[in-house]
C-alpha cells in the first residue's frame, strides 16, 4: 500500500439537533457517496459521531483535497445537483436536522512526520479522539509533540495531525487519535496531566462509523522525504 497526503483536509463538523442523527446516517452513509463521486467531491476518509465534547451531538467527517479551487468547484456542482436537492428536501421531511455546521480547512502539520506510518488503517473498533490545541507560540510545537508522544506511548495511534488554515485560529493544532478503548484514553489523560503542564485543549470523543468505504487512514505517504509533499495526488491504497 502506498499512502500519500494531500495539501488540505476539509473537516466538516455538524452539531446535530436531538433525535436527527439517524437521518444523517441514512443520508451520508448510503445516499451521498455516489453523488460525491459523480460531482468530484473527495471521498471522505472517515466518519464519526460523538456525544461527548464541545460540538456534541456531533456528526463529522474529513476529506482530502489538493486544491481548494477544486474543492469549491466540486461542492458547487454537488449543491446544484438535482438528485441531491431532491434527496435533501426528502430527508429534511419538513424539519431541521443540523443545528450548526462548521467547515474547517486544515493542513498536514509538520509534526505529523514524527508519527508516519501510524493510523494507516483506521481502527473501527476503538474510540477516536479529536483534540484542538491552542498553542501559545511556535515553540508550542515541541510541547504538543511531547504530549502526542505520551499518548502514543500509552496506546494511542495517530490518525492525523493538522494545522488550522481556515475557520480556526491559526495557532490551533488538531490531533486525531485512535484508542483501543475509552478506559485506555482516560488512563492516559491522567498520565499526560502528570507529565505535562496544563494545555489549552478541547477534546471531542468520537466513535468511528463503518459505512463501508474503503479505509485508507490519514497518514503521510511513507516515501515522501519531507513527510508532507506539495502536490502529491490523492490518497491511494
Amino acid at each position: 500500500m502506498t499512502q500519500t497526503v494531500s495539501r488540505y483536509f476539509e473537516l466538516r463538523l455538524y452539531r446535530m439537533l436531538p433525535t436527527r442523527m439517524p437521518d444523517f446516517h441514512e443520508l451520508l452513509g448510503l445516499q451521498v457517496p455516489p453523488l460525491f463521486e459523480k460531482c468530484g467531491v473527495s471521498r471522505p476518509l472517515g466518519f464519526w459521531q460523538s456525544h461527548a465534547g464541545p460540538y456534541a451531538p456531533l456528526f463529522g467527517y474529513i476529506m482530502p483535497w489538493n486544491s481548494i479551487d477544486d474543492r469549491m468547484a466540486a461542492w458547487k456542482k454537488f449543491y446544484a445537483d438535482k438528485v441531491w436537492q431532491k434527496k435533501l428536501a426528502a430527508n429534511y421531511a419538513g424539519s431541521q436536522r443540523v443545528d450548526r455546521p462548521s467547515v474547517l480547512i486544515l493542513r498536514p502539520s509538520d509534526l505529523w512526520r514524527n508519527y508516519r506510518g501510524q493510523g494507516a488503517v483506521v481502527d473501527m473498533t476503538g474510540v477516536h479522539e479529536m483534540r484542538f490545541y491552542r498553542c501559545t507560540s511556535h515553540a508550542g510545537s515541541g510541547e504538543l509533540d511531547a504530549r502526542i508522544a505520551t499518548a502514543v506511548d500509552n496506546g494511542a495511534e495517530v490518525l492525523g495531525l493538522f494545522d488550522a488554515e481556515i475557520g480556526l485560529p491559526t495557532n490551533t493544532r488538531v490531533a486525531m487519535l485512535a484508542w483501543p478503548d475509552e478506559a485506555q484514553r482516560l488512563m492516559t489523560r491522567t498520565a499526560e496531566a502528570a507529565a505535562h503542564p496544563p494545555a489549552d485543549l478541547q477534546t471531542q470523543v468520537m466513535y468511528p462509523i463503518p459505512y463501508g468505504f474503503p479505509r485508507t487512514g490519514l497518514s503521510p505517504r511513507l516515501d515522501d522525504p519531507a513527510g508532507q509533499g506539495a502536490d502529491i495526488g490523492p490518497i491511494q491504497t
Binding site: 481548494i68 479551487d69 450548526r100 455546521p101 462548521s102 501559545t136 481556515i166 480556526l168 491559526t170
Partner: protein
C-alpha cells in the same frame, strides 16, 4: 509594524485593513482581501509565511483567524471604499439554519435601506463560506462618527419597515433570521 508587511505582500488583493476601537476579544487588526482563486491566495500567503520581516514583526501576534466569505444574496459584489475618518462597524451574526438566502435578502432590501436613510453606508454584506458555526452573516457598515452610529441604530429601532420585517420572520420561523451580533467598531488603516 506587522500589518504594513501584510499590505506590502498582499498588495492589490487587500480591500481594507481596520483596527478595532471597541468590541469583544479585540484583535490587532482585521483585513479583507479579494481573490480570484485559491491558488493565488496560497501563493501570496506562502510568501508571507516565508517573509523574514513578517516573521520578525509578527512575533507578538498570538494567532489570527481566516474565514472565506462571499457576497450574500442581493448584495453588490464590490465593497465600498474606506476612509480613515469614518467609524466602521463589523457585525457577525449567526443566521437561522436554512434561512441564509432569506436573511441576505432581508438585510439588503429592508435593513440596509433604512441604514442608508440615516446616513450610514453599507461597505459589504457577506456569507461565510468556509468557517465555523455556519450559516453566518457578516456586515461592514460605515458611519461618519459615533454619534451617527448611535442615532442610526436608534432610528432602526423605531423603523416600521424593520418592525414589519421582524414580525414576518417571527411568523415564519418563530424567531428572527439573525442572532444577536458580535460587534466591533473599527477605524480604517488604509489611507
Amino acid at each position: 509594524m506587522a500589518f504594513s508587511r501584510v499590505r506590502a505582500i498582499i498588495g492589490p488583493h487587500a480591500l481594507g485593513v481596520w483596527q478595532p476601537d471597541a468590541g469583544s476579544g479585540i484583535a490587532p487588526y482585521v483585513s479583507l482581501s479579494a481573490w480570484h482563486d485559491f491558488e493565488r491566495r496560497e501563493t501570496v500567503h506562502q510568501a508571507l509565511r516565508e517573509d523574514r520581516e513578517w516573521i520578525d514583526s509578527s512575533a507578538s501576534l498570538t494567532s489570527c483567524e481566516h474565514w472565506i466569505v462571499a457576497p450574500s444574496s442581493g448584495a453588490p459584489e464590490q465593497i465600498g471604499p474606506t476612509r480613515t475618518d469614518e467609524i466602521y462597524e463589523f457585525r457577525i451574526q449567526e443566521v437561522a439554519n436554512g434561512s441564509q438566502a432569506a436573511a441576505g435578502q432581508s438585510f439588503w432590501y429592508v435593513i440596509s435601506r433604512e441604514i442608508k436613510r440615516t446616513g450610514g453606508r453599507i461597505i459589504g454584506q457577506f456569507d461565510i463560506v468556509l468557517g465555523p458555526n455556519r450559516p453566518v452573516f457578516v456586515t461592514i457598515l460605515a458611519w461618519s462618527d459615533y454619534t451617527a452610529l448611535h442615532s442610526g441604530w436608534q432610528y432602526l429601532d423605531r423603523s416600521s419597515e424593520c418592525a414589519a420585517q421582524r414580525d414576518s420572520e417571527m411568523a415564519e420561523l418563530g424567531r428572527s433570521y439573525f442572532d444577536r451580533p458580535a460587534q466591533w467598531l473599527m477605524r480604517s488603516m488604509v489611507k
